[in-house]
Amino acid sequence: MNTLSVRTLFFGVYAELASSREGVAEMPSGSTVGDLVDTLRGSRGLDWLPERVVVAVNQSYAEIGTQLADGDEVALIPPVAGG
C-alpha cells in the first residue's frame, strides 16, 4: 500500500489546544514519527507543538526517526507531571 493510517492521541494541555483527544492521520508509507509531527504541526493547525515533542508509539516512548506502521497508535505526550 502507498499510505498508512495511524491513530493519534492527545493528552493534557495538548488535548485542550487541539480541541481533540483523538484523530486519524494518513501518511505515505515509510513515514517516521518526525514526519507525522511535521504534518500535524503544519497542515492541521497544531503549530503550537513544541520543537521537541515527545511521542509514544503503541504505548512506548519512540524516537523521532521511528518508522510508523499502518494501525499504529501514536500519542503526543506533553511534559509529564505524575507523582
Binding site: L17, Y61, A75
Partner: protein, 163 residues
C-alpha cells in the same frame, strides 16, 4: 492491580480512580526475609510554586502509564536488593490532602529499601505519562509543566488592565 514477579521480587502496580492510602499494602507487603518496609505517599498540597491550590485533576494515558509504572518497578527490582514493590497512581479529581501516589517497597535491609523507593519516585516523575491540572483558589487553572503558561487555555479571565 497488575501483579507479577521480577525474578523473585513481587511487583504490583495500578493506575486507579479509587482513593489510595497504602495501608492495605502495609499488611501484605514483604516476606519474613524483609526487615525493612517503606511506604511513600504523595499528597495534594495546598500550595504549589506559591499559588494556593484548591484541587487537582490527574489525567493518564492509562494503559501506557501502567506499563511504564510496571517497567519502573521491574527495573528497581533489578537495580536494588528488594523483596517486593507495589505502586499505584491515582487519576481523576483529587481534593487537598488526598493521596496521588503510593510507592511501597520491602527489602531485607533498609539501605536498599530507601534507595529503591527514592529511585522509583524520581523515575515516575520523569517517565509516567500522567498530567496534572491544578485548580487554584483564585479560579484559574493550569496544566503543570505546560510548555508555556500562555498556552494554558483555561484562564478564567485576562489580567485586569485597570485597577
Amino acid at each position: 492491580m497488575t501483579a507479577d514477579g521480577a525474578g523473585e521480587v513481587a511487583v504490583e502496580t495500578a493506575i486507579t480512580t479509587e482513593s489510595l492510602d497504602g495501608t492495605e499494602v502495609f499488611r501484605t507487603l514483604g516476606s519474613h526475609a524483609d526487615g525493612a518496609v517503606l511506604i511513600f505517599q504523595g499528597r495534594v498540597r495546598q500550595t504549589n510554586e506559591g499559588r494556593a491550590v484548591s484541587s487537582l485533576g490527574y489525567e493518564a494515558y492509562g494503559e501506557m502509564a501502567n506499563s511504564e509504572l510496571r517497567a519502573i518497578c521491574h527495573e528497581a527490582a533489578q537495580k536494588f536488593e528488594i523483596g517486593a514493590i507495589s505502586s499505584a497512581h491515582r487519576v481523576g479529581e483529587l481534593a487537598l490532602g488526598e493521596v496521588s501516589i503510593v510507592v511501597a517497597v520491602s527489602a531485607p535491609h533498609r539501605d536498599q529499601c530507601y534507595d529503591a523507593s527514592r529511585w522509583v519516585i524520581e523515575e515516575v516523575k520523569a517517565r509516567l505519562p500522567i498530567w496534572k491540572h491544578e485548580h487554584y483558589v483564585d479560579g484559574e487553572s493550569h496544566w503543570v509543566g505546560a510548555p508555556d503558561s500562555n498556552l494554558a487555555p483555561e484562564r478564567s479571565s485576562p489580567e485586569p488592565e485597570i485597577r
